[in-house]
């Protein structure tokens, strides 16, 4: 791995974490903690993306110790983003947003067992409350848990994909050309 890509990983991880903090300012119920992972994958491929996901989880865990089991989700996100980048799905919102929604489904399917087994569906207050809502609606426990994760993950991943698409298109050609996957991800190579 070249030094450039090595230098990208901490920056991409820090982007995820900084965005998670900044999203409060617009009062939207989003996490955006996989944005850096998706971006790193779209720029430099799955290896860099997975490394970014692991590093993001590690540092996130230092802030809140309950995040580390979800490193699995970050890795899945990186792999999905790689498939999306190969298919050039970042070429516009029309393709990126549905791809993000698809990731939302996959991410919640992956995180539900973790949430259920490790935390009894209380990963965050929001998830706990939506799970309670699901239970009240008559869903069995695991499905209610999925309902809880799904509601928050669905929109979150779509927004992350949309943001990464905007970033990729906003990169000057000269910079994008230096990242191995960037041009392919936006369907320009």
């Amino acid at each position: 791995m070249s030094i450039r890509l090595l230098a990208l990983i901490p920056v991409a991880a820090a982007i995820s974490l900084a965005l998670s903090a900044a999203v409060d300012a617009v009062a939207l119920p989003l996490f955006l903690d996989t944005t850096g992972t998706i971006l790193a994958t779209a720029l430099a491929g799955p290896g860099v993306g997975i490394a970014t996901g692991i590093v993001t989880s590690a540092v996130n865990t230092l802030r809140n110790p309950t995040f580390w089991p979800f490193v699995v989700v970050q890795i899945i996100v990186a792999l999905y983003a790689w498939v999306a980048a190969r298919a050039g799905l970042f070429r516009g919102f029309r393709t990126a947003v549905p791809a993000g929604l698809g990731l939302g489904v996959i991410a919640s399917v992956t995180s539900t067992p973790i949430s259920y087994l490790v935390f009894g569906c209380t990963t965050t207050g929001g998830i706990a409350l939506t799970t309670a809502l699901g239970r009240a609606l008559g869903l069995p426990p695991l499905e209610a848990c999925f309902f809880g994760s799904f509601v928050s993950d669905f929109g979150d991943k779509a927004v992350s994909f949309a943001l990464v698409t905007s970033v990729l298109h906003a990169l000057p050609r000269r910079t994008a050309a230096r990242f191995p996957w960037a041009l392919r991800a936006i369907g320009a190579a």
């Binding site: 920056v11 900044a22 300012a25 617009v26 939207l28 540092v59 802030r63």
Partner: protein, 240 residues
Amino acid sequence: MSRLHPYTLLAIAGALPAFAWILPAPSGGTWTAAVALVLTLTPGESPGLTGTGASSGWRARLIVLRTAVVTAAPFWLFLLLLHDVPTTIAIGLRITTMVASFVWLVAALAPARLVEAMVASGWSASVAYLLAATLSAVPMLKARAQRIVEAQRCRGLSPRGGVAARMRALRALALPLVLSALHEVDERALALETRGLVPGIRRTPLAPPPDSAVERAARWVLLVACLFALVRRFTVPGVS
């Protein structure tokens, strides 16, 4: 506590939650949670990432304990909302163990010592760099995000308005942050290269933390104990 080798600290912080999950509830969870909470009272060395600098004085130590309790408390609340009492206690103790172990680890382990331990035990400089560099980069990017938020507020960004407006606001916030960070990646790469950080090099360790045979043995014992408990859990009938 903080004089222990970083790997020993990691081993303890990893073993306690592992035991909490493997050992039968609620007794298993109770003593691991108790141990973890007591650990949070032991002197930590680094100002580290909690910024407490808990190296002396009972007040400083109580801050670490308080952080652990405050982080774990909401889980108990939500567990009660969703589950019956025995399940709540079982899961709650496990989560408390995990939270307390990590909070203690963060207070006791200075990142610099961990980086040095990794370098000394043969990890390539690149891997050590990843963890350390992210820790340094996060506060800087957060501060930059804050500045962008404030700048945008001067231009009328506000958490009011419909979803579409807020999404546009989010984009106005995220794009400058990400683009400037990416631009810096190139500059950072140049600086790292000129300082000799080549992938795969073996650095000279500057201040390798001392390790002792006792600590190494203790780490192995912890690992074996975990595995033993795991095997026993799944093979001996009648153990829930």
